[in-house]
Structures are given as C-alpha cells and as structure tokens.
Symmetry: C2
Subunit: 357 residues, 2 copies
C-alpha cells in the first residue's frame, strides 16, 4: 500500500486512537496529534481519501471514522511499531511460564489459561501433531495375582499407563509371555495397521489369551488415537464481555458459543510458515470469526509436534501489545520444551528458570 507520509501518520493516529477508545475518531482529535501540524479541514480531506482507498469506514454520516479490516491490515504490516515489553510485563510473563509440568495436554490447557489472563482476551491452545504415531514398547507390571499395570511408550516418547484388574488369577510367567508377544507383534504399527485379524493371529499364538491381548491392545489403540486426535482448549471466554464490542448479546453470544463448542480442532487457525500470524476480520475462514481478529503463535514441542496458542478478540485489538506478549510467551514455551522441560509424554525434570539461556 503506497501512501504519503502524512496519510500514514493520519491512518496510524486514527487506528491507535480507536484501539484505545473504541469510539469513531473525528478530524479534530486527529489534528491534535503531535507532529501533524495541519488543520482539521485538511485531515478531513485526507480521511476522505483513506476512506476511498478502503482503509477507513464511517458508521454513519455524522460520525468520525473507524478503521476497516483493510486499514488494520496496513497498520499491522507497515505502520505498527514494535511494542516494547516493560520490565513488569516480562516478569509477569516469566512467572507465568513456571507451569506445573504434568501431561502435555494439561500444560497446553494451562498455557491457554495463562495467556488469556495476560491478554484479557479469550485464548485457545492446541497441539498440532505428528500424525503417524506407533507404539514402541509395552511393559506389563504385576501388581497382585489378579491385577497388573500396562505401560506403553510411543515412538514419540509419550508414555501412558493403565491399571487392570482381572476376574481370574494370572501368573508372572503368563504375564512375561504376553509381554513378549505384544512387543514382537504390535510395536511399530500405526493405528490403522492394528487390525482385528492381527489380534486374532496373535491370540492364536498365545493360546487362549485373546481377551487379555485385546485388552492391552485396545488400550494401546486408545493411546494412539488420543495422540492423533487434536483437541482444542479454550479459556477466558468470559473476558470477552469486558470489551465494549461485546456489550450486546447478539454479538457476544454467537462467538462465545463458537469458542465453547465441542472441542474439535480445525475450527481455529494455525500459523502457516511464520511462527506468528494475525488474521483480521473477514480474513478468517470460520464464519463466527468473520468480525473478530485472531492472533496466533506456534512453538516447538519436540518430537515433530508444534504447539499452537492464540487469542481471539474484536478487530479493534491492541495488535502491538498482543503480538509482543504472545510471541514472547510462545518463545518461552519453545525454550521450556527444548530444555527437556517436558516433551510429549511426561518426561524430564522441572526446570528452574525456563527463560534462562
């Protein structure tokens, strides 16, 4: 977008003012911007030009101007200055990164909550997975004569377990046998490759132990499935109501429902290429997001997985602040995982300071 310096200044002034006040901006207050020594009449002419270019809009004839989605686009691409995080902000962000490390799922969920609190917008978080996971190894641990623990580990180093009680007793030797059989037959297979026939063949080899095998294998399949199935976590939906554009329920309700709808991923944008992406209003694919903006960042989880974290808000969003915070936080998460903090499963120890180089 080729604009004169003055037009840029005016556009920027209007957008930043509107971001603060949520009120249409008139020529008079723009004229008052320092460094812009022209009269309001001149501003009016310029504003008319900017409107013709599709960068501004007028809610009604006798109102000031508000930025159009295209205007915001120009702003984030060319006009926006990097927002410098204050010391307090980095401190808060760093503190927030001391996440309690548990299951990956819980970490993602928690990260979403935290970023929602920090930005005051609803947030979503998900992991976009490695889709071809296989079981690398089975372990069966005897607990008592009629119960044992299944531990499975995938090739992405996720470890999951389940305790099983049986109606009948089982000897240590039988368990050993089962263990070997599982490890020779069912390792290295993806979800689709584990067929009922395969299970029948295996149980034949093991004699009567079909029930046991199906028990363990179906648990393994559950694990694989849960790793492939991408679920979204959303947090802070209520914070929408703090923003004037959602003071009317007609605007708030559909968006809130969309955000809290069933947790299937794919409804939310994921950054392509760049680690951070801004989607303004109609640039969103989902209808419910057509007049909201989404800022989304990704971070590296390791083992071929990427975490995605983003916030949703009105197109009038403080893009500078939000992108600064989000990218800092995402970078922190990347480092956290990279440091061996906690990879896909639940591995590694708790790092002291996740942001220390």
């Amino acid at each position: 977008m080729d604009l004169t310096e003055r037009k840029k200044k005016i556009l920027r002034a209007i957008i930043e003012n509107y971001i603060q006040t949520a009120e249409p901006v008139g020529s008079k207050v723009v004229a008052a911007t320092p460094g812009l020594n022209v009269s309001s009449a001149t501003i009016r002419n310029e504003m008319a030009d900017l409107e013709a270019l599709g960068l501004l809009e007028q809610p009604h004839t006798s109102a000031g101007r508000i930025p159009s989605p295209g205007g915001y686009r120009v702003y984030v691409n060319e006009l926006m200055e990097d927002y410098r995080l204050s010391v307090q902000e980095t401190q808060r962000l760093n503190e927030a990164l001391h996440l309690k490390m548990r299951e990956l799922d819980q970490v993602i969920d928690q990260a979403g909550r935290v970023i929602s609190q920090l930005t005051r917008y609803p947030a979503f978080a998900l992991a976009s997975g490695s889709s071809r996971v296989t079981i690398q190894r089975f372990d069966l641990l005897m607990v008592s004569s009629d119960s044992f623990i299944i531990v499975v580990m995938t090739d992405t180093n996720v470890v999951r377990n389940r305790l099983v009680r049986l109606p009948s007793d089982l000897s240590e030797a039988q368990l050993q046998l089962l263990d070997t059989l599982l490890n020779t037959t069912f390792t290295g297979l993806t979800l689709d490759e584990i067929t009922p026939e395969l299970m029948r063949v295996a149980s034949h080899a093991a004699g009567e132990a079909y029930g046991l095998i199906s028990l363990v294998v179906s648990f393994a399949m559950d694990v694989l499935e849960s790793l492939e199935q991408r679920t979204v976590h959303t947090a802070g939906i209520a914070s929408l109501l703090a923003h004037p554009e959602y003071r009317s329920l007609d605007r708030a309700a559909p968006l809130m429902s969309y955000l809290s709808e069933d947790q299937d991923a794919g409804r939310f944008p994921v950054p392509q290429g760049d680690p951070m992406e801004i989607l303004i209003g109609p640039e969103n694919v989902a209808d419910a997001l057509k007049d909201t903006s989404v800022v989304v960042a990704s971070y590296d989880i390791g083992d071929g997985m990427r975490g995605v974290i983003g916030v949703v808000g009105p197109t009038r969003m403080d893009y500078a602040k939000i992108t600064a915070r989000l990218s800092y936080f995402a970078a922190g998460l990347s480092r956290l995982f990279e440091q061996g903090g906690l990879p896909p499963g639940d591995e590694g120890e708790e790092p002291d300071d996740p942001l220390r180089r």
Copy 2:
C-alpha cells in the same frame, strides 16, 4: 410449610408457569388452571396470602407474581412431581454415558460437558478426594542406557508415569538398586511425611545418587499433590446466555466470570449426606451464586473418592427435569465406575453398556 390444598395448587401453578415463561404470572392465567374452579378475584386474595407468607414476590405493583426463593423451596420439597424421563431422554443419557475412558480427570471433565449439553445450563464437575494418599509402589523401567520410566502407584490405585532422560548413563543394576531403595523408604508416606531430610538420608544410603532420588521422589510428590488438589472443571458457560435472565450483561458477566475463574474447587457446593442437593438463590454460600440455583449430585468413584457434578442456572429452573436428568446421569456414572469401568487411575476395560445391570 402448612398450606391449604388450594394454596398449594395455586403456588404450584404459578411456579410451573413462571418456569416456562419467565414472566410474572397474573391472577387470570392462574384462574384458568384446570382443577381450580375459582375466579381470579379469589386467586388474588390467595396470592396476597402467599406473598405475606414470603412464597411469592411482586416485581412492581401492577405486575403478576413471581416465586421467591422460599417459594421454590416449598415447591421442590413438597409440590414438585417426579419428572418421568421419556424414552428418548433415557436413550440420550445412556448414549452420553459412553464416555471415552482415559485419565480420571478427563472423564470428569467430559461428564461435565455432557451434562451441560443435556441440561442447557453451565455445569461443573469435580472429584472430592480422599485426602491422605500415599505412594504404594515404585517401578523403574529401563528404556535405554540414558533414560528410564518412573511408574508410581498410590494406595488408591492411581498409576502415573514419567519418562526421564539423564545426562549420563545408568546401568540396569543401578536402577534395580534405586528401585529397591525407593520402595523401602518412600512407600506408605503422605505428602507431608516426605521431608528433605528423609531424602538426604536415603541418598546417603545410595551413595552419590541424590539427584536421581530427588528426581523420582519429586515426581511422586507431584502426583500426590495433584491428587489432593481438587480442581473444578466447568463447561457450557455460554449456554447461560440462552436464558432470559441473563440477557443483561450486568447479570451475566459476574456469574460467567465466577464460573470461569481459576479452577479451584471449594467455590462450588458439594452435596452433604444426600446424593443430590438443590440450593436455591440465597441458600448458596458464594456471593456470585446468591441469585442462581445450583443442583448438584454426587456419584461413587471408588477408592474413597466421590465425584460431584452439578449445574448452575437461574432460580427459575426446571427443577423437576434437571434433578431427574442429573440423578439418572450420576447413577449411571456410579455404575460405570463400580463396574470396574475406570477407577481412579486408568484402570479396567471399556464396558459395553454402562447402564446394563
């Protein structure tokens, strides 16, 4: 509450009408109730009496009456007929009980989502635990020369694991030693009983392995902590907006914030004694719930834990329907767990039909 038959009929008619319409009920429509062959003037006199008894309220002089919290109380205690679930409803509820069995936490979360969908009210779900959990057993599984899996099992049969990578190599024998040491020293202890001193003593016994021991033990402590810490899951917050009492943001926003606030339990009521409890308006302890009603049910998880699941809505709630659905669902959950469906950790196989006797 001792009321004449006629007063009861009138009160009930008013409450049920108000539950349907959310509009103050006038004497005329009450007079039209079948089985009540008196004129509206008589009804007016009776209504004045009921108001004097504190069972009805008048929003303003020229409006009909609405039930007071006390009125609802009388209604749920004495007047309400059991709502008979239709065949479709039991079918839907049964289907909903086919929860994917994973971690207990996830099951609880999912149950909350489901009940929120079924009732169209926001729901909360939590597990009220057994507070003195101890580690019953440690297992260390070698993965490669520099990594192993910690598996811990608590006395409540919860099993958790974590994969650990080490900077240096480790022999199978060392791991065995560590295993024995952990099992002799740290089993049967509650969270507070695991002291730093104890860890120092143990590592002395093991030679130089302090780092390793603290690694495993702090994981165990994490597990104990996560089991004692009761987190609430809330779902369906946006469904509030569908009800006319929350069409105004002043009413909706505080409640929504309360529901989505940080996930600490204790903010939500838990049934005492009875497996189901109804708290109407000011009967709630929490300020934010003072003009909402909460219907809450509990179910048995096993191993000394109880699940709690409830819905939150306006005092004008269809108590008959909600209690019927909630208690049916809670009973289903109880049976699900009892059947060995999935106890605290992640045990047992997936049942075919959780409601089959």
